[in-house]
Subunit: 208 residues, 2 copies
C-alpha cells in the first residue's frame, strides 16, 4: 500500500471498476443464453467495450467464469465471520442462512448458479476456486458449531464436520429450488428451512 | 393393447431399446462435455448409430434433453408411492431419501444433474416436463406428511405443503454437494440428512 502513489491507486480503482463492469455484463449474457452458447463478442457488446479492451482484463471466457466464481464465493466467509461472536449461535446461523438465501435471490447472477456448479464439476480451474472458498466456509461453520456445543446451545453429540457440510448442502438446495420454482419462494420455504436448522442443531434438553 | 399384434409389440420393444441406447449415449457425452459443447454427431458416434437412424428417434439435441429429464424424473413418483402405506411414516421418508441419494449417486447421469437444472430454468419445454413430475412428487409427499400427522408421527402444526418442498430442496442440495465434493459422500452426509429429517418432522411429544 505504501508503495502506491495516488495515481496508481486511481488506476487500480479504475481497473477494478472495469473488471466489475465486465463481470456484470457477462453474468447478464450467461443468464440469458448459458456459458457455452455465449461468445466473447456478446459480452463485449453488453459491457459496451471493444474486444481489445475486454481482452486486457480477461483473456478468455473461462477466465471470466473463474472471476465470477471467485467474486461470488469470496463474499460468503466475510458474511459468516460474525457468527464466531454471536451470543445465540443457533439463531445467528438461522439469520446467516436467511441472509444467504435472500441476498442470492436478489442477485443478478442467480440464474447462472446451477451452471456454475456444472462448470465446477467439469473445469478444474473453476473447481479449484470454488473449493478454496468452500474450505473456508466449512472451517468457519465447524468453529461456529463447536462454539455452540461448548455453550450448550447445540447438541454436543453432533459431528460438526459433517453437520457443516449438511448446512452448506441445504442452503444450496433451498436456493436451487427457489430459483427453479417461484412458487416455493421465500415466504413459504424459508420458515421451514429455519425450523429445520433449529431442530437439527438443538441441544437435547431444549426439546422443541 | 388388444390392438397390438406380437410383431407390433416386438417393434415397440425394439424402439424403446433404441431410445434407451441413444439417451444413455447422450448422457455419457453430456457428462464429458456439457449440453452445449456436445453435437449430435458425438451422440451418434457414442451410440454407434448413423445420423439418419438417430434422427428417426430424436429430431434435435433439445428433444434428447427433454427425454432424459422425462425418464429421470418419471422414476421418482413410483419410488414414493409405498410411502402412502408405511407403518412408520418418518422412517419411510428417511428410507426414501436414502434410496433417492444412493440411487442417483450410482447413476451415470449424475454429472449432468446441475446442468439439467440450468436447462430447465432457460428452456420452457424442459421446464414443463420437470414441473409435471415435480408436481406429482410434491402431491405424494403432501399426502404422506398429512398421513403422518393423522397418525401422530409428524408434528400436526407442520405445513405439509411447504414442508414437502423443503424435503425436495434438501434432497437436491445433498445430491449436488455429494456430486461436487466427494469428501462429503454418503457415509458422512447421509446420517446428518437422516437426523435432520427426523428432527424436522418429529411430533413434539416424541422429543428426539
Amino acid at each position: 500500500m505504501d508503495q502506491q502513489t495516488p495515481t496508481s491507486l486511481a488506476r487500480a480503482d479504475r481497473q477494478a471498476e472495469q473488471r466489475r463492469r465486465i463481470l456484470d455484463a457477462a453474468i447478464a449474457c450467461f443468464a440469458r443464453g448459458g456459458f457455452h452458447a455465449t461468445g466473447m463478442q456478446a459480452v463485449c457488446a453488453e459491457a459496451g467495450m471493444s474486444p481489445g479492451g475486454l481482452y486486457r482484463y480477461f483473456r478468455s471466457k473461462e477466465a471470466i467464469i473463474e472471476a465470477i466464481v471467485e467474486r461470488d464465493r469470496a463474499a460468503i466467509p466475510a458474511m459468516l465471520a460474525p457468527l464466531l461472536e454471536a451470543d445465540d449461535v443457533v439463531e445467528a446461523i438461522v439469520e446467516a442462512a436467511r441472509q444467504f438465501v435472500a441476498g442470492n435471490l436478489k442477485s443478478e447472477g442467480m440464474p447462472i448458479f446451477p451452471e456454475l456448479y456444472a462448470e465446477a464439476i467439469r473445469n478444474p480451474a473453476v473447481k479449484a476456486i470454488a473449493e478454496r472458498c468452500d474450505v473456508e466456509v466449512h472451517e468457519i461453520l465447524v468453529r461456529v458449531l463447536e462454539r455452540g456445543k461448548t455453550l450448550g446451545q447445540i447438541d454436543p453429540a453432533l459431528d460438526a464436520n459433517h453437520a457443516a457440510r449438511l448446512l452448506m448442502a441445504f442452503s444450496d438446495g433451498v436456493l436451487l429450488r427457489m430459483l427453479y420454482e417461484p412458487a416455493a419462494r421465500l415466504e413459504g420455504l424459508m420458515p421451514m428451512f429455519e425450523r429445520s436448522i433449529r431442530s437439527f442443531l438443538a441441544a437435547p434438553e431444549q426439546g422443541r
